[in-house]
Symmetry: none
Subunit: 196 residues, 4 copies
DNA sequence: TAGTAATCGAGACGGTACGTCACGTCTTAAG
DNA sequence: CTTAAGACGTGACGTACCGTCTCGATTACTA
């Protein structure tokens, strides 16, 4: 865990934050969103329910904090030497996040909740903006290499790539493995046009 | 509403199905998934709680029935004469669904909840499968016209198109108007590579 | 069963009264008062719930009818040649009614309900008055034999005898067997006074 | 009411125990066992339903607690100097309980329900056992005075006395006044035999 | 033998209460 | 200042029976 336990700066959480986060993520991973209850997390972490409510106003906020603390969602910035290679790496990473435990439940829970939680939505917005800015070298290099038009829109590309994976896995409940990354990227890069 | 109230065919729901569906969708749109409760829908539709439970075993089943009945989500199958035109039409429709009232709130509420509701997820799965099969003429025609490889994967294309819109609007909380459909489709079709 | 099925006199019950009564008493005997539900009795007797409600307004009324039909509670009028013998026989009979199946549940159910059902209470009143009048020969013979004062009150004696058994078995939840009849009668007849 | 509200000793019930008990007994007396519902008692006492369930697992347990708290049923232990006098006093007390308000309704409601409520029956059992043990001095003194055989069974005597009153008042719906106590006791003590 | 009541089955419904769960809040006291 | 301990109000859950109602469909007496 990565909680700053320096206690002495700003109060940034309860003393047993790590235990609470562990319980939170554990319950989430074990039984899904509904299996995680504040009471359950309190019980498992040996902390009183009121302590959790003192620091996070809702289950979703707690999940968010636990997620941030876990660093499970840190972006990767591949540099394979080609745009296609980089995008495949990014796609594989996204697929991993959305299929692996415990990230799958965590991510879907948070982003689902964002729909009716403006605050969470704002967090998600800056999270993805930050992510995109970190990924920008990938596209800058591709432009330099001549693989990408100078006026191409990295955000649109990442929307297409990430959105397709999200849509297929989360919304359409289809399956994906890392091996599905390459074909998807090829479809994306080659354009759908052109006949066989 | 479109409930068959002919009562005389097979009984397919409670007498006041329409009022129940209206209440269901209304509550969903107004406050999201959690604001919709069986008790609330019963109260608003002037029906007893037990009547709802008599016909649908869960909130999710009720939502499914209400959505199907509403026909709000019926697919469009454009035929503009070109793949690009058709895709733009599809994209505009999707953008419309995800920005207009009341569909925006309904769709996001339901699909957000699908993340931790296996039953809802199943509904969504068959819904999108059905939708894709209805859209298949678009791609068949494109293949005939030579605009699309015969072995192209329509599902992947729709994942890219719909996913990008979903990701940008719902997850990244960005804005879109119907005018954003065309550039997106062009990015998708042209491949990211070659520049203007 | 003893239902008059002569149908032609006053309508006196549903066609399948016997099946309904059997189901009623069966459920009562098997699971006690709470296990008997109108729905359950209807289901078991293969009759529609509404048919039962058409003929009896409540569960208790149904029980009453089933009981009367069953003739399980017909009084006995012993004639053993002595008051003590007769009273012992009566006591044994009462003990039998209050310990045996299904009479125990039936009797307690009906008499319990009588507490807040004036009509049932009236029925009970005439039932016991009738019973007492049928038992009166026992006391008349005892007076003739000189075993009982001419001004003795048979009702008081039966209250004492029946009440003691009822109290012990039903209210104090104690146990009794037919063998407890003789000592009880002896205590009653000898008066409590007199030392060993 | 007699709840120890000293709160500081062991917590022995909810804060508003008295209001709950009052509501419980009120509903019981007014409408009998069935008119008492946990929801009703909660509403009348201004307490939430869950609070009642937190402290008593069933309606019967609640009734038991309310009755114990009320002290309405505390036994009397007369000492008039003679067995007959003591028994008459006991009989008058019982008659009072079964004819006065609110005890009549409470007692009949509870004991009627005991017939099909094992838990209530258990409560009644220990209640009467306790009562009998408290009354035992009456019989011990009678034995010492030579009014009662040393091997006489106090339980049987109280069954006869209480049972006769119960039977006449509750089951046979007859009337009784305190003046009926003396003749009844005389019949009991003198034995039914010998005449005036 | 047909007609016409009485009776019934089927199915839905509003309603009350059940007993449970988890929520989020509060107070009091301890560390 | 933080936490524990514990009680509480609140809303909703999903279930069980209640007792009622409206229809056809059966019966079965009766003319």
């Amino acid at each position: 865990m990565h909680t700053t336990t320096h206690r002495g700066g700003r109060a940034s959480g309860p003393r047993d934050a790590e235990a609470i986060f562990a319980a939170t993520l554990g319950l989430l991973a074990e039984g899904g969103y509904d299996a995680l209850t504040v009471e359950g997390a309190a019980a498992r972490s040996g902390v009183n329910k009121t302590t959790i409510y003192r620091w996070w106003r809702s289950k979703d906020e707690l999940i968010g904090a636990a997620l941030v603390d876990s660093r499970l969602l840190e972006p990767v910035v591949p540099d394979t030497g080609s745009l296609e290679g980089d995008l495949v790496a990014l796609a594989r990473h996204i697929i991993g996040l959305l299929t692996g435990e415990p990230t799958r439940d965590l991510v879907t829970a948070v982003l689902a909740a964002a729909g009716h939680r403006p605050e969470l939505a704002r967090h998600a917005k800056v999270f993805f903006a930050d992510r995109l800015s970190k990924e920008s070298p990938v596209f800058a290099r591709a432009v330099q290499r001549g693989e990408l038009a100078a006026d191409a829109d990295p955000a649109a590309l990442m929307d297409l790539l990430g959105g397709a994976i999200w849509f297929r896995l989360v919304i359409r409940s289809d399956t994906m493995t890392p091996d599905d990354a390459a074909p998807l990227v090829r479809t994306l890069l080659s354009g759908a046009a052109r006949s066989s």
